[in-house]
Amino acid sequence: MTEYNFAYLDEQTKRMIRRAILKGLAIPGYQVPFASREMPMPYGWGTGGVQVSAAVLTPKDTFKVIDQGADDTTNAVSIRTFFQRTAGVATTTATSDATVIQTRHRIPEEPLHEGQILVYQVPIPEPLRFLEPRESETRKMHSLEEYGLMHVKLYEDISRHGHIATSYAYPVKVEGRYVMDPSPIPKFDNPKLGDMAAIQLFGAGREQRIYALPPYTQVVSLDFEDHPFEASKADHPCGMCGATDSYLDELIIDDAGGRMFVCSDTDYCEARQSAGHKGKDAA
C-alpha cells in the first residue's frame, strides 16, 4: 500500500489528532472535539481508536490489538492487519512486548508499564448522554461540574435494585474534576484505570471526541459511602489456566446448558498455561 502515507492518515491530519491528544493529556478526562475523518472501516468499529493509534504509532513501535481481551477476535484481526499493511509496524500478542495496545472493552490483566500507550475504542464518550441526550447541555454540565444528575441516577439504582445497576462503562471521576466514560470496559477493570504507569488515550471517531489519562492519574469510580464501588466478575476460576484474579468469559459447551469460564484476556491465559498452570477443564 505505497499509495497511502505511513499509518494511512496524512501528516496534517495526524498533527491535528496529536494536538487533540496533547490537549486531552493536559486536561485529564476532558473530551476534546476533533475533526474525525472517514476511515476505511465503519464508524462504530474502532475508527476513533484507529485514528489515535495512527497518530501515535512510529515505525519502531510494536503494536497489539485486542477486542474483548482477545487478540484473535475478527475485528482485532482486521485492525491489526490494517496497521501491518499501512504502517508495516511489528505486531505482537504479548502485552508486555507491545508499545501501543489498541483495545475494545478490556484492560489487559498484566499491569502495563511506563512507555506503553493504551488506546481505547469509544462508542459513546459522553457519560451523561443517556441522562441528557443534548450535546450542548452535557458540555455545559461538564463545564459547570454539574454532576448531580449522575448521582441521582446511581442513587435511584440503589433504591430500586439495591445495587448500582451499571456493570460496564461504569462512570469515573478524574482528578476530582471531570466525570468520564471509561468506554464499555466491565467495571472489573475500573480499578486499573487509576494510577496506571501507561498513557491511556480514548478515541471516539463517530462522536468526534478524544480524551486522555496521563500516567499515574487519580481515577475514582463513582459510588456512595454506604454503597462502595465493587469490581465484580464471575465467581469461578478460569477453566483453562486456573486463574482466580482474571475477568472471565462464559462459554456454553453443550446442549444441556453446560458452561465453562475462561479468561477473556487470551495472552494472559496462554502465558499462564505455558508456565504450567492448569484449570479443571484443560486437556
Binding site: Y43, G44, W45, G69, D72, R104, Y168, Q208, M240
Partner: protein, 362 residues
C-alpha cells in the same frame, strides 16, 4: 473440550473471497461495466455522489459496482476515498443563475421568464411496469430543440422586488467545513445546509414529510426547482483571476414559505433552500423543507418541539455513514459487557428470589 477460537484471519480472507464471488454473480451473465452503471443507473450514481460528497460519476459507478448495488455501502466507499485526497483549494461560489437548465419548474407562477421546462422527469409517467424494457431497451430519439440562451432568473428574485420575501443578504464569510472541523452546536445555517446536502435521502425525506404532516409545519411552496449544469471556477493565484475548471450538474430547490410574522419579523414569505449534486430532486426538496424548519429561531417562531426543528437531533442523526456504522457495530462481539450484565442480572434475581422466599415464610 474447549479450544480457543483461532483462525479469524483466514475466516476473514475466505469471507472476502466469497463476497467477491457473490458480487460477480453467475458468470454466464455478462459483467456490468462502469460505463453501463454511469449511463443507465445515473440516478443511483447521483445519490452516491451527493451523499458521498464527491462529484465523480465514474468513481461513484465503480463504488456501486463494488458495493453490489448497496448505495449506502457505495457512499461509504466514496467517503473513505475522498477523505484521503489532497486539497488544492476551494472553488468560487457557483452561480446557479447561469445554470444551463435541463429542468426548471415553479409551482408558484404559471409562467415566468425563462419558462417552465419539464425536462427528463418521472413526474407524469404512469407507473406501469414496462415489459417491453425487459426484452428490448432501445428507445427512439427524443425530440429536441435549441437550448434557451441567456440567464434564467430565480423566481424568488421576482418576489423580492416587491419586498414580499425575506432578504437573503449577501455574505462573504467563508463557510465552515464539516469535513475538516468537528460538528459543534449551535450550527449556523451554512453548516446546517452543508450537513443536509450530504444527509441520508431517506432520513431527510422522512423529516421533511413530518413537517408537511404538522410536526413543525411551515407551509412550503416549491418556488422553483431547477436542474442543470453550472461552471465551476477556481481562483488561480499565479494568474490572478478565476478560470473555469469544469462543470457540475446540480439540483436546486427554493421553497417559498407562508409566514404571518413573528415577534421579530414582519409578515412576509420566507425561504427554504436545497442544493444537491446531480439530478436529485426528492433530496433537494426535502432539504429545503428541513432547512426551513430548522430556521425557527432566527425567524422568531415558536419551537413546537417537532423533530425537524431540533438541529441537534437532525444534524447528529442525518449522516448515513455514521448511522449505519454504529448500528451495525452491534454485530461485533460484546462478550465482555454481556458477561458483566449476566452477573448483575443473576445477582439481582438471586436477591429478589431470596426476598420472596422470606416474605412467603413470614
Amino acid at each position: 473440550m474447549y479450544v480457543a477460537v483461532k483462525g479469524g484471519e483466514r475466516a476473514i480472507e475466505n469471507a472476502h473471497a466469497w463476497l467477491a464471488e457473490e458480487r460477480r454473480g453467475n458468470t454466464d451473465i455478462a459483467e456490468l461495466s462502469i460505463a453501463q452503471i454511469r449511463e443507465q443507473l445515473s440516478l443511483a450514481v447521483n445519490r452516491v455522489m451527493a451523499e458521498g460528497s464527491l462529484y465523480d460519476p465514474d468513481l461513484a459507478a465503480l463504488a456501486i459496482k463494488q458495493a453490489r448495488g448497496d448505495l449506502i455501502e457505495a457512499i461509504f466507499l466514496i467517503r473513505a476515498y475522498r477523505t484521503t485526497l489532497p486539497r488544492f483549494g476551494a472553488s468560487e461560489p457557483v452561480d446557479t443563475g447561469i445554470m444551463a437548465c435541463d429542468r426548471r419548474i415553479s409551482a408558484t407562477f404559471k409562467d415566468l421568464p425563462g419558462g417552465q421546462v419539464l425536462g427528463p422527469t418521472f413526474d407524469y409517467t404512469h407507473r406501469l411496469l414496462d415489459f417491453k424494457l425487459a426484452a428490448d431497451g432501445e428507445v427512439p430519439k427524443a425530440p429536441s430543440r435549441d437550448a434557451e440562451t441567456g440567464n434564467v432568473p430565480h423566481v424568488t428574485g421576482f418576489l423580492n422586488r416587491e419586498g414580499l420575501i425575506e432578504e437573503a443578504p449577501h455574505d462573504d464569510t467563508p463557510p465552515p467545513d464539516l469535513t475538516r472541523e468537528p460538528l459543534e452546536m449551535p450550527a449556523d445555517r451554512a453548516l446546517r445546509l452543508q450537513a443536509l446536502t450530504r444527509a441520508d435521502e431517506g432520513f431527510t425525506l422522512g423529516l421533511a414529510y413530518s413537517t408537511q404532516r404538522g410536526y413543525g409545519r411551515n407551509h412550503a411552496f416549491v418556488g422553483e426547482l431547477r436542474i442543470g449544469s453550472v461552471p465551476v471556477e477556481m481562483d488561480i493565484p499565479e494568474l490572478g483571476f478565476a478560470v473555469e475548471i469544469g462543470e457540475v450538474i446540480l439540483t436546486e430547490c427554493e421553497t417559498v414559505n407562508q409566514f404571518t410574522g413573528s415577534k421579530t419579523e414582519p409578515p412576509q414569505f420566507t425561504r427554504g433552500y436545497g442544493l444537491v449534486f446531480g439530478q436529485t430532486e426528492r433530496k433537494a426538496i426535502s432539504m429545503a423543507l428541513v432547512d426551513r424548519a430548522l430556521r425557527w429561531e432566527e425567524l422568531g417562531e415558536d419551537n413546537v418541539g417537532a423533530p425537524a426543528q431540533d438541529a441537534e437531533f437532525v444534524l447528529y442523526h442525518a449522516d448515513n455513514i455514521q448511522a449505519t456504522g454504529f448500528l451495525e457495530h452491534i454485530k461485533l462481539p460484546h462478550y465482555v459487557d454481556f458477561q458483566s450484565e449476566l452477573e448483575l442480572v443473576r445477582k439481582l434475581r438471586r436477591e429478589a428470589g431470596a426476598q420472596q422466599v422470606q416474605e412467603a415464610a413470614e
